[in-house]
Amino acid sequence: MKISRFLITTSFCLVLLLLGLAPVMAEGVGSGSFQKDTGIEISFGLPVDEAWAKNPANFDVYEKSDPDIKIAVDSVTLDPRRISATLRFKEPLNLAAEYVVDAKDITSDGKVIGARQFTIKKSETQVLFGLLLGAMLISNFVFTKYLGLCIFFGVSQKKDTAIGMGITFTTVMILSAVMCWALLTFVLLPYNLSFLRIIVFIGTVAIFVQAVDTILRKVNPYLFKRLGVYLVLITTNCIILAVPLENADGGHGPFASFTYALGAGVGFAIALFLMACVREKLEVCRVPPSFQGLPIAFIVAGLFALAFLGFSGLAIF
């Protein structure tokens, strides 16, 4: 019951977050969108002449940070209504960067209208989704960075403890990541105290772990007993410290910090659950005596890590 209430609250917060982001998604005039990583689509808002549009020399494309380095346009295609054009490039674009397209002497029905500038950038939602997917699957903290293995092997014997640990861990991770962002932005950076960040982050994590420990002891004594010493060991987990530190290094904002922590937490929960599924089956398998217990668990984790390599290079946008 408690867990379902928690899930409802979380999803409600997510919907609120998405609603807040909606204005960011709707962009004004003079923008374009990426077509995979080899094309840019821009829309002129009125029909343009095909002869003008077909000439790649009419378009100057460059990254906003390097206006001097022009990127060669390979070909231009117009859509049947002649309103939007797709520029194709030989070399793949850097989707994390912001691009500018200068269209010179736009010609419509034989008349020259003038120049116009387009900026092409991934929207905030796409960036956040990329962060979420990256932390969850592509560079899963357990299987590709090999962090947090202590809890990972300690709690993955039974499915129900794995799920409980996953939810607890994600909660602590999100709360502490957002709190650490606030402390870093409003205290550590303004007072030039960023050399203190590791100790401050660990302190923040410890506060939330203590709070979860107190609450869980009352609310779910069964899970509390099953998690045992590993609940307190969340404090010293590598992932829970790595997430705020990477947020600080990457200069993530509050939403990005939240998303990254959510992705890392869910990724860890997925890893725990998968491992628990296999280890429950391993209980009834005939394992060679020298491999019983932890050694075979390490081998299984290695196989999972190999499987998770399949996610590398995954991109939805």
Partner: protein, 52 residues
């Protein structure tokens, strides 16, 4: 030297305040979610030798 002192002092004050607030919140939570433990259990355990 002046700036070093102001920096150190600011950090000290902010984190002392932060720690105090969180400590009070945790103390309140501990009271609110207190689990009743029978004091007799502890008393009996204290009387036992505790060898195992």
């Amino acid at each position: 030297m002046e700036t070093v002192w102001t920096t150190a002092l600011a950090g000290l004050i902010v984190f002392a305040a932060f720690g105090l607030i969180c400590g009070l919140a945790l103390a309140y939570a501990a009271q609110r979610f207190a689990v009743k433990v029978d004091p007799k259990i502890e008393a009996v355990r204290a009387c036992l030798p505790g060898a195992n």
